[in-house]
């Protein structure tokens, strides 16, 4: 049995909820921004395309503390986004996680979109499809890769520590409810306090969450009508 120390249910639920809220919102925002970028880049040949894709791939390796620092500067009172008063809020954490998750999502989904054979796009066009129909067909054909991209982005976001610590502030209210503390930052705090067992318990919850999200994604990804076929 772990000695969970100060770990009560309210605290546990609230940091889990903040983790899920921030990561899910960041991935949703990344998807809203990133999938159109993937389609636009994947569909067109243009001068400098290889440079653009290289920059996107490089973005996957952004050091999170550097991103946190940049977002901190941007959101500070004297920064360009200071008027929004977002620093040390969950929304600031969403912003930094979006910046970190976006290159992962774009890079993996771009690869998936580009792997859809031109023949299939031509077939959709020849069957009377408009450019929107062809784009939807490509998304459908690339769905395995796109779901993988979403899962990779989610993994990047929910396991993030450095930037959310900097821009979120790791704040917990006096009634033990979390404002900007996530599972990952809570683990850091517990480790510093020497509560290794508590940290491990929180880590197990984090792993279970990641596993659950991946299982959901895999279930959606593999749900293909007629994939196994039914004879008549």
């Amino acid at each position: 049995m772990f000695a969970l120390g100060d770990l009560n249910l309210t605290y546990l639920v609230s940091i889990t909820a903040v983790s899920l809220y921030v990561s899910t919102a960041a991935v949703a925002l990344s998807a809203a921004l990133g999938l159109p970028i993937s389609l636009a880049v994947g569909f067109r040949d243009f001068y400098g395309k290889s440079v653009v894709t290289s920059v996107i791939s490089t973005g996957m390796g952004f050091p999170s503390v550097v991103v946190g620092l940049v977002v901190l500067l941007a959101l500070s009172r004297s920064g360009p986004l200071g008027t929004f008063d977002l620093l040390f809020t969950p929304e600031a954490m969403i912003l930094s996680q979006t910046i970190l998750a976006l290159p992962v999502l774009v890079s993996v989904s771009l690869s998936a979109v580009q792997s859809v054979p031109q023949d299939l796009r031509d077939a959709a066009f020849a069957a009377g499809g408009t450019s929107t129909d062809v784009a939807l067909l490509v998304v459908r054909e690339a769905r395995y890769g796109i779901v993988t991209a979403l899962l990779a982005a989610y993994g990047r976001a929910i396991s993030e520590v450095g930037s959310v610590l900097i821009v979120g502030g790791n704040i917990v209210f006096s009634d033990s409810t979390s404002f900007t503390r996530t599972l990952t930052t809570a683990i850091t705090v517990e480790a510093r306090k020497g509560n290794i067992e508590t940290g491990i318990a929180l880590g197990a919850i984090l792993l279970a969450l990641v596993l659950g999200v991946n299982a959901l994604g895999a279930r959606f990804r593999d749900r293909t009508p007629g994939r196994n076929g039914r004879g008549r």
Binding site: A126, G129, T224, G226
Partner: protein, 288 residues
């Protein structure tokens, strides 16, 4: 340079009795009215011309074979006829209208009267039924498509009569529920042709549909071509298989080096070609 047989009109292949042209954008135009023609087409890809001065036409209720060795520009020609891109020179006409002079909405309506199947495997990774009904779905309104998608979550309907008819034409209705990925190359090609036929096009373009297929699947596809012709569809077939052109086509156009060098009734083109290169090609002496 287009070589024309005596008695043909300026289209190179078209006969003297040109059917009345119908409004290409009208919905459900009757058969016998839609003619697909290329006039003086020229096209290139930066490193030189692929097609030069091509003129030909395919009439309703006939099969036109466009023959020539691989790499001679047949696929480029068919892509221009299917309106994948605008030709550098010349015009593509459907029912008498230059399709690239039409407003976009009308051009889409015209494009939707042309079905096409390709040489390469091009089925979507879903069921045979969904592949064949794709062209029907994209013609529906967005609200109807969304409603269908929602209803699809709660169960699947029986295949529509249109899908059934198209699949029966190619002898594949027994595989309607199969995953397209599980089909053989020949079966996949037959389904691709059913997909092109399902929206009941006025023109059917088949780009090397039987290359590398076994005789059974080849026979099924040739049978589907004849059935389409008998329904009044204008069928254009690109092939390097001269025996196939002889078997199925009513008229033949020979393309060599990106230029149509001879065209006319198939028996005449193969029986007494005017052009020496065609004679050598037909006799298998002209090797590319």
């Amino acid at each position: 340079m287009t070589a024309e047989r005596p008695g043909t009109d300026g289209s190179g292949v078209g006969g003297a009795d040109e059917p009345a042209a119908s409004d290409p954008a009208s919905n459900g135009a009757g058969r016998g009215g839609t003619r697909l023609a290329a006039h003086d087409l020229g096209h290139g890809f930066g490193n030189g011309a692929v097609l030069e001065d091509i003129s030909l036409a395919v009439e309703p209720g006939e099969i036109l074979a466009v023959v020539g060795p691989s790499g001679t520009g047949k696929t480029t020609l068919f892509r221009l006829l299917a309106m994948f891109e605008r030709p550098d020179e010349g015009a593509v006409e459907v029912g008498g209208d230059d399709v690239w002079d039409l407003p976009e909405a009308r051009r889409l309506a015209v494009r939707r009267r042309i079905g096409m199947a390709f040489q390469t495997r091009s089925l979507f990774s879903t069921t045979v039924e969904e592949n064949v009904s794709y062209g029907l779905r994209v013609r529906r309104s967005w609200s109807a498509r969304i409603r269908d998608a929602v209803e699809g979550l709660f169960g699947r309907d029986e295949p529509s009569d249109t899908v059934e008819k198209a699949l029966r034409t190619v002898g594949m209705f027994d595989k309607v529920d199969r995953d397209a990925g599980s089909l053989s190359a020949g079966e996949a090609q037959r389904v691709a042709i059913a997909r092109a036929l399902a929206p009941d096009p006025d023109v059917l373009l088949l780009d090397e549909p039987t290359s590398n297929l076994d005789p059974r699947n080849t026979a099924a596809i040739e049978s589907a071509m004849r059935a389409a012709r008998d329904r009044g569809i204008a069928v254009a077939l690109a092939t390097h298989d001269m025996q196939q052109a002889r078997r199925v086509s009513d008229r033949t156009a020979v393309i060599l080096g990106g230029t149509c060098i001879e065209s006319g009734p198939t028996d005449e083109v193969f029986g007494s070609p005017d052009d020496d290169r065609v004679r050598q090609f037909v006799e298998g002496k002209l090797v590319y």
